[in-house]
């Protein structure tokens, strides 16, 4: 993905031709390509919708997420309760909206944490090579070798037991974020490293070095910008993975605590009721599905848009 040279090329071509041609930046070109793909647009719309939901949950939801009236329990979807009510009498619309907020917060925070850990490590490993690369690779191996679920269960139990309560303030949500973040930085690191490895052997890098660019300059001006697009895509795809991870933790009973709603917990708790109260699982499942779909299409769209060779 040699985007940098394209910019410099078009800039140098213009004056010689003597024609006033509107030069489009790469960003504009990318945007054009992006919006040409229908699925990408769908993805963007979904993501924006969900982020909106997450940000304005208190305004959108008819009730608070903990408000429940036992006498209204187990009602099917109706005009009063468009998504029905759950076994305790919560309005499912509110629960789903707040659940989206929880999922977004957890997913974004966890992925941010994963980036904070994984990207610098991958960058450093790919650039420096040698001993640092060796250590990072071993670290990656160790982290991958520890079965994620087991590690998550251990971590959650240890954190829950209060051993680290002084460090991890912020309640259960924070605990879940930390655990998911710690268990998901590896793919990002690996990706970063693989990208760097591939890129640094590219011709233009050799060219840059041959004209005397320092390592640092090569890294920042040439490698990083080209490594960023796949990273963005990886992040976009890591978000749904985090949502899933949280659902998995909830399935095992060690995720977000009630009464804070979590889509994953709602789905896993609804399994028992699937024959009877299908609405309990349907709407949270749909929410998760649409969120994942949205991020996936967005990621796909970004990837296709940022590849300049597509005409």
């Amino acid at each position: 993905m040699a985007t940098t040279d394209a910019t410099t090329l078009s800039a140098s071509v213009e004056p010689t031709l003597g024609v006033r041609r509107k030069s489009r930046t790469n960003f504009q070109l990318a945007k054009q390509r992006f919006f040409r793909q229908k699925l990408a647009v769908v993805g963007l719309v979904l993501v924006v919708l969900f982020l909106f939901c997450a940000l304005f949950a208190p305004l959108l939801a008819p009730t608070g997420y903990a408000d429940a009236n036992l006498m209204d329990a187990n009602k099917f979807p109706s005009r009063e309760f468009p998504f029905g009510t759950d076994t305790i009498g919560h309005d499912m619309v509110s629960r789903v909206i707040y659940g989206i907020r929880t999922s977004m917060v957890v997913a974004f925070s966890a992925v941010a944490l994963a980036c904070l850990i994984g990207v610098p490590l991958g960058l450093a490993a790919g650039l420096k090579g040698g001993l640092l690369d060796f250590i990072v690779l071993r670290l990656v191996e160790i982290m991958t070798a520890l079965p994620g679920i087991l590690f998550a269960i251990f971590l959650m139990s240890v954190i829950n037991s209060g051993a680290f309560k002084r460090i991890f303030v912020g309640g259960q949500v924070m605990n879940v974020v930390v655990v998911i973040g710690i268990t998901s930085w590896v793919p990002l690191c690996r990706l970063m490293r693989a990208q760097i490895l591939q890129l640094r052997e590219q011709e233009y890098v050799t060219a840059a070095r041959s004209i005397g660019a320092t390592e640092y300059r090569v890294a920042v001006s040439h490698l990083l910008p080209n490594a960023v697009p796949p990273l963005i895509i990886a992040i976009t795809l890591a978000i749904p993975a985090a949502i899933f991870a949280e659902a998995g933790l909830s399935f095992l009973g060690i995720g977000i605590n009630e009464p804070v709603p979590s889509l994953g917990k709602m789905v896993s708790d609804s399994r028992q009721y699937i024959q009877l109260y299908w609405h309990l699982g349907l709407f949270p499942s749909l929410a998760i599905a649409l969120a994942v779909l949205g991020f996936a299409f967005l990621g796909d769209g970004l990837r296709d848009a940022l590849d300049p060779r597509q005409i």
Binding site: A66, L70, N160, Q172, I254, E258
Partner: protein, 596 residues
């Protein structure tokens, strides 16, 4: 109701040389504590100790007309694959599959009316001071390895149980009761000093206690022996979990254990005991509990207990399946919110009282529990000896106004500044989660207090609860009886028991009642006084008594479903074991489909 008279009538029916004949006075002293503590003080009717007409018919060897042929006499029970580790009570109590105690018989058994009836011991008597208990064993019973069943087997079993090298998980049960038990368990004295020994002959077992123990016969419900010879040979009771080395003197033998899949028992062809069982094969199908209902619907299991609310609603919704739903008392469990009363804010009694008045148990029952429970305001469940629900039900009654008022007085008007709480749940089932969610909602609504619900697995929860000092500030848990005596249920609350509450008045009253040897009515009164102290001090908010719901396939027939004197028709606790009469009162009818 004059218990003594009805007992006399009963006892007079037996001729002197009948093995069931017992000295009247001794029988009353020994058995009255268990039998007549208010629960079933009634004329037990003809042949009361033989479990009813059906059992008599079975004993005489005529199968009911609609019984399936022997090859189809098969029952399948679901069992939790996570805890199916060993089979014998005296090897390990808490990690066994659902159906396990079939390879030997205890000294006494329990019938459908919760009465203690002879097991292997056909008579027993206690000394005047209540500290020596002699059990006379039936003769002629043998193990499958040919050895006779004698008192030596019990001696070996109890010594094994007290042996620190074995580290039995139930040693608390006999602590401070059987002589020499404490010292043996603590490693201070040898296991041969434990007060369980052979008596005058090898068919007489003598148990000595440190304190007067009128509840001893009831306790001996838990006396399933291991084989002394096998224990000697293998060094541990694990031999009985392997078909190759298993030894049985009970109506069944272990014929197959496919790990993670199923455990199969078949009828013991060399059985010499008196239980007349009809079912040829019993299977434990191992699975995770959340899959039980699906299996039940597909006829892959014949029984299910404590279903989740959705399954229950589904079954009740259809006329045909509604007949398969039975509700019983189970082991008289009480579900309660408990506090660590040594820490703020729950060290303030007014806070605890406020909480007790904020729970609307009736709505909980109507909207969430349904047939699975009934509101509880006190500790002992209705039907349990010494239970006095009406007398105590106002102490912790639902009264939101009073709740708010008390909370205000305690320094948290309208819940202001009340620290956010986290309620610990122990491996909650779907019903538990719903109930806990409802409680959290009620506390928010009535007291404006936020309560978060945290799920913990059994090991983590138990470790935190039992830690010294306890690590759980607020939790939700249940307790069901170990044997039918108020001293058992109430001992949960004594100092050093399960929780951090410590009340010397309660301890004293409980001790007095447990050791009381006089009139049963007086004993009951003492227990009731103790319970009153408990309920008034609110170390826990009692929320509901579990009424165990069971799904039983219609082809499981027999007397086990005949309503007892309280009208309950269900498979009585402890279900399919030699500790009760269920195996003798159940058979499979010929309309059972092919399965297993």
């Amino acid at each position: 109701m004059n218990e003594k008279n009805s007992l006399s009538e009963v006892l007079d029916q037996f001729p002197k040389d009948d093995p069931l004949s017992v000295s009247r006075r001794r029988f009353i002293a020994a058995g009255a504590a268990a039998m007549a503590t208010g629960f079933l003080a009634t004329n037990a009717g003809a042949a009361p100790l033989q479990g009813g007409r059906m059992a008599t018919a079975l004993r005489q060897g005529t199968p009911p007309a609609d019984a399936a042929p022997p090859e189809k006499q098969l029952i399948i029970f679901p069992a939790d694959v996570g805890i199916a580790k060993v089979l014998d009570f005296y090897e390990q109590v808490y990690q066994r599959p659902f159906v396990a105690d079939l390879f030997s018989e205890p000294l006494v058994r329990m019938n459908r009316e919760f009465e203690i009836i002879p097991g292997v011991a056909d008579s027993w008597e206690g000394s005047e001071d209540g500290k020596t208990w002699t059990f006379k064993l039936r003769q002629g019973l043998t193990w499958t390895d040919g050895n006779p069943l004698t008192a030596a087997d019990w001696v070996a079993t109890f010594q094994y149980a007290a042996n620190p090298e074995h580290a039995w998980d139930f040693t608390w049960f006999f602590r401070d009761v059987i002589t020499g038990w404490n010292d043996a368990v603590d490693g201070k004295a040898g296991i041969d000093k434990v007060g369980v020994a052979q008596g005058a002959s090898e068919y007489e077992l003598v148990i000595s206690t440190d304190v007067p123990a009128p509840y001893m016969p009831a306790m001996m419900l838990y006396s399933l022996p291991l084989s002394a010879a096998a224990l000697k040979e293998h060094g541990s009771g694990v031999y009985n979990s392997d078909p190759a080395t298993a030894v049985s003197c009970g109506p069944y033998v272990l014929s197959e254990w496919t790990p993670q899949q199923q455990i199969v028992y078949t009828k013991n062809p060399n059985y010499t005991g008196t239980m007349n069982v009809m079912v040829e094969k019993v299977i434990n199908r191992l699975a995770t509990p959340d899959t039980y209902f699906t299996m039940y619907q597909n006829n892959e299991v014949d029984y299910l207990e404590e279903p989740d609310p959705a399954s229950l609603t589904l079954m009740m919704g259809d006329e045909a399946t509604a007949k398969e739903v039975h509700s019983g008392v189970g082991d008289f469990p009480t579900w309660y919110i408990f506090f660590d009363v040594t820490k703020a804010p729950f060290d303030n009694k007014m806070v605890r009282q406020a909480w007790s008045h904020a729970i609307d148990r009736d709505t909980l029952k109507s909207q969430v529990l349904g047939p699975s429970g009934t509101p509880a305001y006190s500790w002992l469940a209705p039907g349990f000896p010494a239970s006095q629900r009406e007398a105590l039900q106002d102490i912790q009654k639902f009264d939101p106004a009073m709740a708010k008022d008390l909370l205000s007085q305690a320094g948290f008007p309208d819940g202001k500044d009340f620290p956010k709480q986290t309620m610990w749940l122990r491996a909650p089932s779907p019903l538990d989660k719903t109930v806990a969610g409802a409680l959290s909602a009620m506390l928010k609504e009535n007291l404006n207090i936020e309560v978060e619900l945290e799920e913990h697995d059994s090991a983590g929860f138990t470790a935190a609860l039992n830690a010294k000092p306890t690590q759980i500030l607020l939790g939700w848990v249940r307790y069901g009886m170990d044997y039918l005596d108020p001293s058992n249920m109430l001992s949960v609350w004594k100092t050093g028991g399960r929780h951090s509450w410590s009340n010397p008045d309660f301890d004293a009253k409980l001790k007095e009642a447990s050791e009381y040897l006089g009139a049963p009515e007086e004993r009951i009164k003492l227990f009731q006084e103790a319970e009153r102290i408990l309920v008034e001090d609110v170390p826990a908010v009692f929320v509901y008594h579990g009424t165990r719901v069971q799904f039983i396939k219609p082809w499981l027939k027999g007397d086990f479903l005949t309503p007892d004197k309280n009208g309950i028709s269900a498979m009585h606790w402890p279900a399919y074991t030699t500790m009760d009469t269920v195996p003798e009162e159940i058979y499979v009818s010929s309309d059972a489909p092919d399965r297993g």
